[in-house]
């Protein structure tokens, strides 16, 4: 019994009709992908999430996780069984390397499952959600011995993993961390320190947990250049003995109660170096980039779940009368769906969800291309686009996912504020993606600095040019979106120019416009996907293929996006251009009330 239906039809429309992933011959692992596989994943993984995972969601919030007197942690009722079923189902091994027992399938396919899992129960998703990034990190930086010991069980899901980065005084600024790593005689290291905010820091889902821990070796350079990455198991695989890792406490959070967010104490724990000493940040970034895309997908998952509940409520709940024709003139009231302002919120949700899903899946294909295309040129191009869009997908996806959840809660009126209907839980759960894996302001700075200014805006311009040329080729029937999108691209190009000029003058001016720049790129990128979705829908309609109701809804939603969201680009351009003058004008103390 659940209120979540996996949006399989929309997923198939994007993967098969729009991206035609089953027709790709490379990267090589796309050879495995045929129409049946797309359908199977869209439907069957969806069934699993809806039937096994979604029923956990409400209780996960109410019960939360428990730290027992002996320091062990248990997850909410049902998590262990659902996790066992997850492992057995094999869905989790889909993108994992075949070498270690995975299925080696494209990342793009797993992205669908990430969305479903998050819609079904975000607190549950946190446990297996970290594995692909953790496996990739170990793959790229561990010794052969470590790989053989750890990867098979991580790939299968028999063991879970954590990212142990944050310390009380070192969040965004990892360079401030104090956890130490001292080399022992046997090549291992002794790790000591306290880490906070560690998702899945302990739990009862797996017998062992593989902590990936950032720490400093003695005499390491100050700051982020002196950080090393270590693999620290909860239980030593050879001896079966407990390692020196313990849970100090479970954090009390606004939401995501199903996920055990732990304070972890490392007390001379045995750790194994991954990569080089002092090269930890680079090794960890492999994990963080995967995690950042997944966090954007969380925004999508929350938005979809919230939308489904709000749409169902709007059709069911009778309140007020239609202003135009009344569906049933004799009724005392019409359903909420007759009211334009309710539809405004629902259409905005659809416009974000469907456009962003297309963007995320397109980007996931590019990730696969960046890793596996034969041509170096093609890999490089894809990698540039992925790097550029990663902070946008993380930040814009989580911002808008939260905003949509809040709007969907609003559809319920007062009933949205009481726990009974589940909307307030989605809002609380949807708040954290804006913060973790690099707060959204940091993502915006990454986009503006490293991903835009560093190459003089080259990738940004290539991205805009791609969109502009699609606008030009769109033709009359699509002018309703191609024209405003073309204008928005123009604002984007002007904003990029302003950003670079500001940055050349004073880096603070670039930083002051970074957030608006991120929002502008996000708004444009989704608009671009809507142009593609609209073109596809129009082509299918013209050809008499597909379901006219489904396709006409796509065209109407594209129009909504063009009318309501694309006009934001002019405002955002102004904000980028304004720089940081007014922001930096106050002395620090002037911010305090007196």
């Amino acid at each position: 019994m659940t209120d979540y239906s996996p949006p399989a039809r929309d997923v198939i429309f994007v993967l098969k009709d729009l991206l035609r992933v089953h027709e790709r011959s490379e990267p090589a692992n796309y050879e495995m992908v045929d129409e049946d596989l797309i359908e199977t994943i869209a439907h069957e993984a969806g069934k699993f999430c809806a039937q096994v995972v979604a029923p956990l969601n409400r209780n996960a919030d109410e019960q939360g996780c428990t730290r027992h007197a002996d320091g062990s942690v248990t997850t909410p009722d049902g998590f262990k069984q659902a996790y066992d079923e997850w492992v057995e189902s094999g869905w989790g091994t889909l993108p994992q390397p075949e070498e270690f027992g995975g299925q080696g399938m494209p990342h793009a396919l797993f992205t669908v499952i990430e969305e479903y899992l998050n819609s079904a129960c975000a607190g549950f998703m946190m446990y297996p959600g970290i594995l692909p990034g953790a496996v990739a990190t170990v793959m790229s930086s561990a010794s052969e011995d470590l790989k053989q010991t750890y990867l098979p069980k991580m790939v299968s899901g028999e063991w879970l993993a954590t990212m142990a980065l944050t310390e009380g005084h070192a969040g965004t600024d990892l360079g401030l961390m104090k956890t130490t790593a001292t080399k022992r005689g046997n090549g291992a290291y002794s790790i000591s320190g306290e880490k906070i905010f560690i998702s899945g820091g302990d739990h009862d889902l797996t017998d062992n947990i593989v902590h990936l821990v950032l720490a400093r070796v003695p005499d390491a350079p100050a700051g982020s250049r002196g950080i090393s990455l270590f693999l620290v198991p909860k239980i030593m695989p050879d001896s079966g003995e407990k390692n020196g890792v313990s849970v100090g406490s479970i954090e009390h959070k606004m939401g995501l109660h199903g996920s055990a967010t732990c304070v972890l104490n490392f007390d001379e724990a045995t750790g194994f170096l991954l990569g080089e000493e002092n090269g930890g940040l680079a090794a960890m970034f492999i994990m963080m980039n995967a995690a950042r895309l997944a966090v954007g997908v969380q925004g999508l998952g929350h938005a979809e779940h919230a939308y489904q509940k709000a749409a169902a409520y709007a059709l069911e709940r009778k309140q007020g009368r239609a202003m135009g024709d009344r569906p049933d003139p004799s009724a005392a009231a019409d359903s909420l769906i007759v009211h334009p302002d309710v539809r405004r919120m629902l259409m905005d949700a659809r416009a974000f969800i469907e456009g962003f899903r297309a963007l995320v899946l397109w980007t996931s294909v590019q990730i696969d291309v960046s890793h596996g295309a034969q041509s170096r040129e093609e890999r490089k191009k894809a990698d540039g686009l992925v790097s550029f869009l990663t902070p946008v997908i993380k930040a814009f996806g989580s911002d808008r996912g939260f905003e949509v959840a809040v709007n969907m809660q609003q559809v319920f009126g007062g009933h949205g504020y009481v726990t009974e209907w589940g909307m307030e839980q989605i809002v609380r759960d949807a708040r954290i993606p804006m913060i973790y894996e690099g707060a959204n302001g940091v993502q915006a700075l990454d986009l503006a600095g490293r991903k835009t200014a560093k190459d003089g805006g080259a990738v940004a311009q290539a991205f805009f040019s791609m969109i502009a040329s699609e606008c030009e080729e769109a033709g009359e029937a699509l002018a309703f979106i191609a024209d405003p999108l073309g204008k928005a691209v123009h604002h984007g190009e002007a904003a990029a120019k302003a950003l670079l000029e500001n940055g050349a003058q004073d880096p603070n001016d670039m930083a002051g416009g970074a957030y608006a720049w991120m929002q502008l790129v996000g708004t444009l990128a989704i608009g671009w996907q809507w142009l593609r979705l609209a073109k596809l829908a129009q082509d299918q309609l013209d050809a008499g293929e597909g379901d006219p109701a489904f396709l006409s809804a796509k065209l109407a939603t594209a129009r909504f996006y063009a009318e309501q969201q694309l006009p934001l680009c002019t405002t955002l351009r102004h904000r980028v251009k304004a720089g940081a003058g007014a922001m930096m004008a106050l002395e620090a103390e002037q911010f305090l009330r007196s």
Copy 2:
């Protein structure tokens, strides 16, 4: 011990320097207002809220209210004592009618206390916060007997009150309500039915509670024309016997846990008619309009509280390095306040808070004028502006208050998501003002329909003209805000025209643009206040009066608003103009995923 400092200096700057309320000779009760009184209220009421009320806030959230086996309700620890002190302090009687023991002071002064109370503890504020509206309703519609029995104790705060409107199937659409009122022989009525979401439906703060209840008399016309208003005491004042009112349950809410939100069962309870039979909605609207302004002030209070915590944290927390000059080059990290993106969020909070406070206090003066000015013409003009701005203050104030709270939570990074720092509580508490007292979408429709289209846009145009002429007179030194504000007024006028044209064509098109219209008027109205604040600050600086640091911060914040918020008006104009075509395109069933 509290983290909240009443922003007395800012309040005095608005009431005294900007609005010069101490110099007003009318309405008559402004004769009571001198500079000392302004200072006393700003400081002493602030002290009360910070010292007596604010310490309740954290526990109120954690402990919540309790319904006992006998159906009685107790509030969180400390509420009863704080409420007794509140009554004793006399702050609550400030705006109440002298005839019944109040102080008869201007509403504008009480608005300050409403803001403080809400910042200090929103859950506590809910109990006394309802009294001014309840008293006004009883004043305007009760028989002399009822007034003599109830008003002295309501005015003093010895008894509290509720607004009992909502039923399970009747929220926004009160016309659907089913609670019945049957006339008895003695002139009283017998009230039966179930009401939900009743704030302060029961509690241990006062011996008696005065419920203002909407119900239907037999053979009442269908819909909202058949609703009557009744006064239903919890305890009969003459006999001391319990009336037929009981608490079915306390709602489990996302936040505002200190406020007992009850399901109330009326079982042949004795009620007394207020006003005429079937005239209940008009009588209740006296209360709802006061409540709507107060809800906007809640948004302000939440934003101010969240801002203070975030500003203090940003100065304290060391994370990352400044991109330009470093305050302390030898330190490992600078405080967050060096980062433009952190300042962006803090400046945005200031720009909303200070501009909106000025707007709210200006409007509060207009409320006083609309009730008490000698000239009918002046009363009418003020009433028109108050009616126009009430839905804007309610909806825009609560929307932006929530948004600011979310941004201030973001300043804390991961620490904002854990309960320990109190930011997530503010966000949860700040969510409800967007919903209750008429959800914000309903406010937007009220603004677009009744307050704009109904008079052909006359009040809107008068409002814009007032702003435009102030822009023209602003002079060179203020061009940095007067010019963009003038452009924004132009967008506002164009949007008003589009709204009216759309409405003439199809009421749905007007409704589809209503929300953007509300946001546009709100954005403009705050910009207008910033022009006034900037002019005042510049004048004082030019005259060598006042604290340059305080005044220069006002100018910088005005510039921030001009650069970051006013450019939104062009986007909002586009949205108003777009109407509802894309929103209404889907059949209801197309909103469901399949």
